[in-house]
Symmetry: C2
Subunit: 198 residues, 2 copies
């Protein structure tokens, strides 16, 4: 009916696809399910995208670019690095609990990308982005607590990404909040020991 700019239509389809994947998984995110979610006809899909794979590729790039600081150390002067890190990880955990489907979708998208050599760079970029955000948090936390990283911050950031990833995956399976808190504490402990107080 209405005439909609191509870019807008692409964005709408990407959003719809993410909703379908979050709700039902990537396997159920067929072109038909996506256009139904977006309230469009099937042909509109292929007017906006050459193929389903093209949409999924752009979906990953878009969502990764959109990803915001997840592990934010809450500014609270006078607290040590360990406490700041733990609070930051707990903030991420709250984010996970608030929208588990989103993190589950991101995990599925990663594994999808891992399965094709062509799409592998998308997964790598996704985790590079995670590491970048983690690094920013770590720099900030060290500044706030007056500490100095003994190892390259990028290395510590990579560890933080692994720890939060593990926290996410295990919690998605057993939904054990207490266990997740324990993981958060252990992770903050290990990370804080990669820095020296000034």
């Amino acid at each position: 009916m209405t005439r909609i700019p191509a870019a807008e239509r692409r964005a709408a389809l990407i959003d719809a696809a993410l909703r379908v994947i979050s709700r039902e998984g990537i396997a159920q995110a067929t072109t038909r399910a996506i256009v139904a979610e977006a309230g469009m006809s099937l042909a509109s899909f292929h007017y906006a995208f050459a193929s389903r794979d093209e949409l999924l590729d752009e979906l990953i790039s878009t969502v990764v670019a959109r990803e915001q600081q997840a592990v934010v150390p809450v500014p609270a002067p006078g607290r040590g690095l360990r406490e700041l890190l733990e609070t930051g990880i707990l903030a991420y955990f709250e984010h996970l609990r608030a929208d588990p489907a989103h993190e589950q979708a991101m995990l599925e998208l990663t594994q999808y990308a891992l399965r094709s050599p062509d799409r592998l760079p998308l997964a790598v970029a996704q985790y590079a982005r995670y590491a970048e955000l983690a690094e920013r948090s770590l720099v900030l936390a060290a500044e706030m607590s007056g500490a100095r990283w003994r190892v390259p911050v990028s290395e510590a950031a990579r560890v933080l990404v692994a720890f939060t990833d593990g926290l996410t995956l295990t919690w998605l399976v057993d939904r054990d909040d207490t266990a997740a808190l324990s993981v958060a504490r252990a992770a903050a402990d290990a990370l804080s020991r990669m820095a020296d107080p000034l």
Copy 2:
């Protein structure tokens, strides 16, 4: 042609399915791909299994039951808990490097199970098994190093599972061995601090 007992045929199909999933991913593990891998006809599949889902369910149960001690602390008297744990995690990492496709397959199976309420118990059982194996390692490591867990061993085991899971996922994406070693070190550090020397 040949007459094969049903149980044997089921086992052969399960093995074939695991090979296909490891090689090409769960999405490509169609009934046709599985029977081709097993060298059977399509009808034989449905003689042995009522449906593809039934095979996947049994595949998860079988593989999980088959799972062996992954993080084994290498017996080496005179070493501290931290060193024992690190060696154990590194042993797991070597196992991961030796057969990444297997761990990737296990991750995909977990996510597949997470997507249906009926199959959720399979994922839960899978991670309960991981935790059980981890707990055994931690008990052993404490014994060998003469340490005593300050927290319930099951709690420390759950943390170990999360850490190895995170190590796995991130390494599968970037294949950064150095980063993985760093994760292993940090994980061993955090875990060892959950125990006291005797």
